[in-house]
Amino acid sequence: MIKVDDLTQIYKSGKGIFNVSFEIKKGEVFGFLGPNGAGKTTTIRNIMGFSNSTGGKVTIDGHDARVETAILQERIGYLPGEIAFFENMTGMEFLNFMGKMRRLKNLEKRDELINRFELDPKGKIKKMSKGMKQKVGIVAAFMHDPDIIILDEPTSGLDPFMQNVFMDLIDEEKAKGKTIMMSSHIFEEVQRSCDRAGIIREGHLVAIEDIHSLKAMNKKRFKVMPMNDESKSKILSSDYKTESREDGSIFIDQNGSLNEFFRLMASCEIAEFDVVTQSLEDIFMKYYGEEKTHE
C-alpha cells in the first residue's frame, strides 16, 4: 500500500536519509524505529508529500505522494512529531477547524476519542501541557476515520495510562484493517502493537524485521544486589553473562528459560532486583555492531 522506493533526501548539513526502501502492506501495523535524528521524521515527511526528495519516491496505492498529496490526504490521518497548532485556539476550536478543513460531517468518532483520552478541549492550546496537546493531535489524526494512519512518535508526552489507552486504540484500528505506520524510539511500544518494524540508523535502513525476531533480540537484563559474597559468587559463576559493578550490584543478561533463571535467583540472598530497560541504543549495540552505533 505504502511503497517507499529508494528514497534519498540529503539536507545541506549532509545529514538525511539514504536509499531507504520498504513497503507497508494493507492492514499492517509498521513500526519505524530509530534513535533521535536517525531520519524517521524525514522519511515521514516524504510519505506525507511535504518534502521534495533528492532521489527516489513514495507511492501510496500507486499515487505519487508528493504530486497527488491532496487526494491522498482524504484517506490519511497524520500526527506530526512536533506539536504545533494555531495560537489562541482552544482545543475544541482547533478540532472544529480541522474537521471543517476536512469537510467532516460525522463527529461521533471525534467525541468518542475526546472522551476516551479524557481530553478537556475547552482550554487554549497555548496553555495546555505537552500531554494534553498530544491528545489534541491524536484526536485530530483519528477523527475522520482514515484508512492510512501515519504517526510520528505518537506516545511522547502521554503518561503510562494514556499510552495504554493509545495502544488499545491502535489495536482496534488494526482490527478494522487500517494501515498504520508509527515511528518511535521506544522499543516496547513498537513491540507491543506492530507486525513488522523497520530500523533506521543515521539515515540508513539497517533492518526490516518481523516483530517476533525483534522480540528475540530484546533479551532481558536484570540488575541484582546480592546480600552476601556467597550469593554473589554463585551468580557470577553461573552460565549467564554477568557484569559486576563497583557498588556491589551485578547485571545479568538473561536468555533461555526463565524458570531456570528464577531458580538461581531463589537460591541466592538478594537485596534488590530490577529489570533494566534496554534502550534502542543497547539493542543496536548488541545486534548491529559497534560501527553502526557511534554518533
Binding site: 511535504f50 498529496t69 491532496a70 497524520y78 506530526p80 504545533a84 494555531f86 471543517k100 485530530a140
Partner: protein, 266 residues
C-alpha cells in the same frame, strides 16, 4: 480558496486589524481637523520657510490648498504608507512563514486541500484585510470631512488617492508574501518583508530631498502615489491601477507557485 481557512485567518488578525484602523483614524481625524481654509495659505508660507528638501522628504511637498490635497499630501505622503506597511509586514509573515516555522503548516497541508488552494487562501486573506483597511479608512475619511468641512472634500479624487495607495500596497504586500513563501524561518521572511518596503520609503524620501537624487523615485512604487497626477492628470489613475494590478498578480502568482513546488521540512 478555502472558506474555513479564510475566516480563521480573518479572526486571527482581528486585533491587529482593529488597532491599525484606530491608529489611522487617529491620524486622519487630527489631520482633517487641522485643515483650515483660511490658514492653508499660512501653512503654505510656513512650508516655504522650512528647508525645501526636508518638507519634500516627509511628503509635505504639495502646497495644500484644498481639503483633498491637504489630506493627500499630509496623510498619503507618510502616515498612510508607514502604518499599512507595518500591517502588511506582520500579516504577510504570519500567513505562511510563521506556520512553516512553527510547524502548524503541517496540519494545513495534511488536510485534503492542495497546497495551491491553501496558499491562495492565505494570499486572498491578506489582500482582503488590506482592502478592508483602505475601504474603512476611505469611508471614515469621507464621513469626517463631511462632518467637519461639509462639501469641501472632492470625493472622487479622494477615492482615487486611496485606490492607488491600496494598489501600491498590493505590490508591497506581494513582496512580503513572496518572502513568506520562500523562507523556512519567520526571521528571514520578516527581514525580506521589512527591508523592501522600508527601502522603498527611504528611496522616496531621498528622491525628494535633493534634485540630484530625484532619479531614485523610479526605484520605489510609493512614487506612484502622486497626489498631483492623481488629481489632475486624466488617465493616470486608470493606467497606474492596471499596471499595479498586473504587477501584484504576477508577484502573488510566483509566490504561490514557489510554495507549491518547494520542499517543506515540517
Amino acid at each position: 480558496m478555502n472558506r474555513t481557512l479564510f475566516l480563521t485567518n480573518l479572526k486571527a488578525h482581528k486585533m491587529l486589524f482593529v488597532i491599525m484602523n484606530l491608529v489611522l483614524l487617529m491620524y486622519s481625524s487630527i489631520m482633517i481637523y487641522m485643515f483650515d481654509p483660511e490658514t492653508s495659505n499660512a501653512i503654505a508660507e510656513m512650508m516655504e520657510m522650512l528647508p525645501k528638501g526636508f518638507a519634500v522628504a516627509f511628503g509635505f511637498d504639495d502646497i495644500a490648498i484644498t481639503l483633498t490635497s491637504h489630506i493627500g499630501s499630509y496623510l498619503y505622503g507618510f502616515i498612510f504608507i508607514v502604518f499599512p506597511m507595518i500591517f502588511t509586514v506582520i500579516a504577510a509573515n504570519s500567513m505562511v512563514a510563521k506556520h512553516v516555522d512553527r510547524g502548524s503548516m503541517a496540519y494545513l497541508i495534511a488536510t485534503p486541500n492542495s497546497r495551491k488552494t491553501i496558499i491562495w487562501t492565505q494570499a486572498i486573506s491578506l489582500i482582503t484585510m488590506l482592502t478592508g483597511l483602505f475601504v474603512i479608512q476611505t469611508i471614515l475619511g469621507i464621513l469626517m470631512s463631511e462632518m467637519m468641512f461639509s462639501g469641501l472634500l472632492e470625493v472622487g479624487p479622494y477615492i482615487k488617492i486611496n485606490l492607488i495607495t491600496l494598489l501600491v500596497f498590493g505590490v508591497v504586500s506581494g513582496i512580503g508574501f513572496l518572502g513568506s513563501c520562500i523562507f523556512n524561518e519567520s526571521s528571514r521572511s520578516l527581514s525580506m518583508g521589512i527591508s523592501f518596503p522600508v527601502a522603498f520609503l527611504l528611496l522616496k524620501m531621498l528622491s525628494g530631498a535633493s534634485p540630484d537624487l530625484s532619479f531614485l523615485k523610479y526605484f520605489t512604487p510609493y512614487t506612484l502615489i502622486d497626489i498631483n497626477k492623481i488629481m489632475n492628470t486624466g488617465n493616470y489613475t486608470l493606467w497606474t491601477s492596471v499596471a499595479l494590478i498586473i504587477a501584484s498578480f504576477l508577484i502573488y502568482f510566483s509566490a504561490v507557485t514557489i510554495f507549491d513546488k518547494r520542499s517543506l521540512n515540517l
